[in-house]
């Protein structure tokens, strides 16, 4: 079994994003999805600090400190993009106007609860940013994460043990082992990495899984 690389995971997410979609890509791994969106597809990237129609990073030397993304990295604006203030920007998210948010995670539960903002460590300084707004901020919330912790524990869990970011908000999970839908009937495996049998995935994951019906993808 050869795990999906991060680029493969990002490319797999990109495949699910159709032309015309309004999309927010979270900080970290989800940001890589932008590199895999086909150039011929017009897709609208939203950044919660106040822009729609976000373009790629600027050429070295032409960074503008007033044009940054939610990760505070310099970006560009596509022709046809727009700027707006924070209340309007989060209204777009909270109001359900985005088609997709793509987020990283520490844990996702079988019912779609998301934990991605706090490890629960006692001494950690809590910081949430837009994580909770993103978790409820799109018609479909997609999560990208390693299937297991470095210690080999499944990050897909019956109940999150880390502090929650949102309740029943995740629609699909992309890991280095599989693509899994969160459905009212539980977790449904859409696809797995080559060489990984369904039963083995179920054993690794440790929560009930079923095969998605052919039409579910």
């Amino acid at each position: 079994m050869k795990r999906f690389t991060r680029d493969q995971m990002a490319a797999r997410v990109a495949r699910d994003i159709p032309e015309g979609a309004y999309v927010n890509l979270g900080i970290g791994l989800p940001t890589m999805v932008a590199n895999h969106l086909p150039k011929e597809r017009e897709i609208f990237l939203h950044s919660e600090n106040g822009l729609l129609g976000m373009g790629p990073a600027p050429a070295a030397g032409s960074e503008d400190p007033d044009l940054i993304n939610a990760g505070k990295q310099p970006v560009t604006l596509l022709t046809g993009g727009a700027y707006f203030h924070h209340a309007d920007s989060f209204a777009m998210m909270r109001g359900g106007h985005l088609d997709f948010c793509v987020l990283g995670a520490f844990q996702v539960s079988a019912s779609g609860d998301l934990a991605n903002w706090h490890t629960g460590a006692i001494n950690a300084i809590p910081a949430v940013g837009g994580a909770m707004d993103l978790a409820i901020g799109a018609k479909r919330v997609l999560v990208m994460m390693d299937h297991q912790t470095k210690g080999g524990e499944s990050k897909i869990v019956a109940h999150c043990t880390y502090p929650l970011t949102g309740v029943k908000c995740v629609n699909r999970i992309y890991t280095d082992l599989a693509v899994i839908d969160v459905t009212p009937e539980g977790l449904a495996v859409v696809e797995t990495v080559d060489g990984l049998a369904f039963d083995e995935l179920a054993r690794i994951t440790g929560v009930p899984l079923r095969r998605a019906s052919a039409t579910a993808g």
Partner: protein, 232 residues
């Protein structure tokens, strides 16, 4: 390539079905999407719930829609005007339902729908007949009324210019309800005086970003420049 422009007002409103909730922009005639309303009349949908600041003037636009008996209920702030005789007659005959909402609560409830707010406490109308039966609360010693969002299936609005992504700019006080209604409808349809090339609208100046607009239709300039009085 994403192109939200639609060939005609009729095509833009073709899927507005019986029973739909439709927001209609405009304050008086400023910002009223007359050509879209006319197309909605031709479309024939019945049993509509309409959200507008007023309830129509004379026999045109929204009043013509009312006169054609297409509207079951209207949510507005100021139905009674000197020339609102179509609405007046329907109301007195018990043939239309009225939900009267203070203008600022109307605007904020529409905004709340677009912004995903579940409900909000507003001081407007506290202690008045328009708060009767509603939940109230004292917050820091001031009285507030709990109001819920108003969402719609469609919004018909009028803007000055737009592009194929649906970005809009407005003209003077014709802006009024356009931006918030666009945000509160599943399908916002904007009639514009001019569709411009992508990039012609300055990103600092766009009032309604395209995410809030599903369809855009250019109306012949000559039509729009005819004074509203002449149409009446």
């Amino acid at each position: 390539m994403i192109d939200k422009t639609v060939a005609s007002p009729s095509a833009a409103v073709a899927d507005i079905a019986d029973g739909a909730t439709v927001m209609i922009g405009g304050f008086g005639t400023a910002g009223m999407p007359s050509e879209l309303i006319d197309a909605l009349i031709r479309n024939g949908a019945r049993d509509l719930t309409i959200v507008n600041n007023n309830a129509g003037n004379a026999d045109v636009g929204l009043a013509a829609l009312l006169k054609a008996k297409r509207v079951r209920k209207i949510i507005c702030s100021f139905p009674r005007q000197t020339d609102s005789y179509v609405f007046d007659a329907l109301y007195h005959a018990g043939e239309i339902e009225l939900e009267l909402v203070p203008q600022g609560n109307l605007a904020e409830r529409i905004r709340a729908a677009g912004a995903g707010i579940g409900a909000f406490f507003t001081p407007t109308a506290y202690g008045t007949p328009l708060a009767e039966g509603k939940e109230t609360r004292l917050i820091n010693g001031r009285g507030y009324v709990l109001e819920y969002p108003i969402a719609a299936d469609f919004a018909l609005i009028k803007a000055e210019k737009g592009d194929r992504w649906g970005n809009l700019v407005y003209r003077k006080t014709a802006r009024n309800f356009g931006p918030i209604m666009a945000s509160a409808a599943k399908c916002a349809i904007a009639q514009v005086r001019k569709v411009v090339a992508l990039g012609e609208l300055d990103p600092e100046v766009i009032v309604t970003p395209g995410i809030f607009v599903q369809r855009i239709v250019e109306i012949d300039v000559a039509d729009q420049l005819s004074p509203p009085q002449a149409a009446a």
